[in-house]
Symmetry: C2
Subunit: 407 residues, 2 copies
């Protein structure tokens, strides 16, 4: 075996230009939705109930599209909103609404509440942190387990501090570690006592149907559990078709209790005369129904599961016996989380970058871009072709081997 330093010099000399940074679908995945680009077709603009989708109105979005997604997002159709193309925007705007108008159950609007803080399970999704940082909402980190956030710590924090107004959750195939919240974690989130009467769960079910194996994982119904526990207004549920149909031209969803939905629609009616219903109609016609959605996601799986398998294979070949090196083998979602010995993550990312392999900056999985252990590297294998994944991951292996050798 070549020694790590020589292997790295050879890697650099190869002049690669590869990218494992972002969770973007590949063009082959986007091609699966090519049929959407002809929809709805001239003259085919009427919805099932006769609504002219071309005109203004319909703030809640097209019913036939909401019906398709309601069971997958575990929200009753009347409590589900279909919006424009970005669920991140719905999350951001929900927090803006809460800052500027009291939420159901809130004593004040949040800009008048003094400090507002959210719990951020780590590792987590950098754009959730970005929304809070932009809006002046503090982030309090809590560790993730295989079953979801460390609930003892979450319960302790929310019970004792009324300035903690919410928690970010990616409950299924979480970003980046692929964790699936256990039923018990969901039940505890839905029922735990909170000092803040207006506490909210930001339930970003981004990967609800994004399975990588035949084990199509189900999670508990957070809305139902919260209602049963007497906290019906606690969860806001989010989802989108960005990684189902077209990343930039999909449809985002928001669901919650009737009170939350009414509050949201009333405030949103002041800023828009309705979402793009033609795009809703396109999606309803293209996906047809739940079975159509499932079949479409199977086609995605066929394209991306081999990429995840390639990442797994190369890591396993190199590091199956290496202390301190571990990685996730997610059953769905868009990421593999690679854990390296403390203090090495940013060094590996730096070495890879100098060899032409772009990795997500170490720390991006933590608030303010700072991973105190400097141990987590997020790998995003969906976008590049399989042969590039292979070359990039072989390079990552070399970089990690060098970093380990130099330690």
């Amino acid at each position: 075996m070549t020694d790590p330093a020589t292997a790295y010099e050879e890697l650099r000399a190869a002049g690669l230009k590869l990218d494992l940074t972002r969770g973007k679908p590949s063009s082959q995945q986007l091609d699966l939705a090519a049929g959407l680009l002809d929809q709805p077709g001239a003259g085919q603009h009427l919805a099932a109930d006769g609504t002219d989708t071309r005109n203004y109105g319909g703030g809640q979005g097209l019913p036939e599209l909401r019906e398709i997604f309601a069971p997958f997002l575990q929200v009753p159709t009347p409590q589900l909103i279909a919006a424009n193309n970005s669920s991140l925007e719905l999350m951001h705007d929900t927090l803006v609404h809460a800052l500027l108008s009291p939420l159901p159950g809130a004593p004040t609007r949040w800009v008048d509440a003094g400090r507002v803080a959210f719990i951020a399970p780590v590792p987590g999704y950098d754009r959730h942190y970005g929304v809070c940082e932009r809006l002046g909402i503090d982030l309090v980190t809590v560790g993730m387990t295989e079953d979801g956030p460390d609930m003892d710590e979450v319960e302790r924090l929310v019970a004792g501090d009324a300035s903690i107004k919410g928690i970010w959750c990616v409950p299924k195939y979480s970003n980046p570690d692929g964790a699936v919240y256990s039923d018990e974690v969901v039940r505890r989130l839905a029922s735990m006592p909170t000092a803040a009467p207006d506490f909210r769960i930001m339930w970003d079910n981004a990967y609800a149907v994004h399975h990588l194996t035949s084990d199509e994982v189900e999670i508990a119904d957070v809305l139902a559990l919260a209602a049963e526990a007497g906290n019906p207004d606690r969860p806001f549920v989010f989802g989108s078709t960005s990684k189902i149909t077209l990343a930039g031209a999909g449809v985002a969803f928001l669901g919650g209790s009737q009170a939350n939905v009414d509050w949201w629609l009333k405030l949103t009616s002041k800023k828009s005369i309705g979402p793009d219903k033609v795009n809703h109609l396109r999606h309803a016609r293209f996906l047809r129904d739940g079975a159509g959605l499932r079949a479409h996601m199977s086609a995605h799986r066929e394209l991306i599961a081999p990429k995840f398998a390639m990442v797994e294979r190369l890591l396993l070949e190199a590091f199956s016996d290496t202390p301190g090196v571990s990685w996730t083998t997610p059953k769905g979602g868009y990421f593999v989380s690679l854990t390296v010995p403390d203090g090495l993550a940013s060094e590996v990312v730096r070495l890879a970058g100098e060899a032409g392999i772009a990795l997500t900056p170490a720390g991006a999985t933590h608030p303010y871009g700072k991973d105190p252990q400097d141990a987590v590297i997020r790998l995003a294998p969906t976008l590049p072709p399989l042969d590039e994944i292979e070359r990039a991951m072989a390079g990552v292996v070399t970089c990690l081997q060098l970093a380990l050798a130099r330690r």
Copy 2:
């Protein structure tokens, strides 16, 4: 001639169900954009520069679409943003950004500024008022003239009160009175001294290309005049294709100084990974270029100019010699503003409503829904077919005659 009371009883007995309330395009107008519903077509998703419009990214919107609209909105292409489907949303979100992050030149974010107020020229657009009311921004009214707002009053207010942070303007074919701002008014707005260093003009150029006559009215270039006067960051320019292509599925635009645009894009990048670029591509392909846009608007004009002519004819036949009754004859836009003697507007709207003719509530053209003179009725003749316009306006004439007779 039948006496007004008898005529009104006959009108009620006819059991009409007609609607002149909202400025919505008719389905015939929407049909003009039928070609958009087949766009871009499977496999036709690449932009001129090779961008895959289906994927994430491109926060400023597709260049080829911005190029088409830049000259019409009088914004250089690099300073123009193409977004999703609602310019109202862009206005709302711009004010939200200003509330939560300091604008270029602002000493503080507006939520920390104490009182924030905007000037609302009256009569004006109810949804502008709604955005301010929802965000806790006070409205200070100033009268409209044929040439735009009463500038003596505007200059006096903004010079003396630093809490006045902006003004709403619909500079061409204004809603509802069809006024066109004179070059002198634009120059004064762009150059007037303001006590607030972060004063902004909300330049809602909603009807930039929406001509009703062959006199395609031009207005002065507010961005250029503001820059010349040393106030480059003062105007935010807005526009949309809602009344060009599809009301609910068009594209909205925002333009301004480079500093304003950079500020807006940076904040917006925290809430979305980009607008729907596929819809941008649809619009660019369908409209082709400036000449295509002009030709498309001529087709609109052919459909709606006869409706405006019908309103004009019936009002002229009935009230050409009636003191206190006057109306606008706009050269573009979506509305006719009918002025009746003080105190009669809500009575006419009530009488019409009881006869099955829905009119916009009297007062909607003023903040908080209160027209102190109760004298302005906004008529929106684009949506109903011509024969319904004729019957509805004949009914409005009857109602006004009765209200005048009863006075």
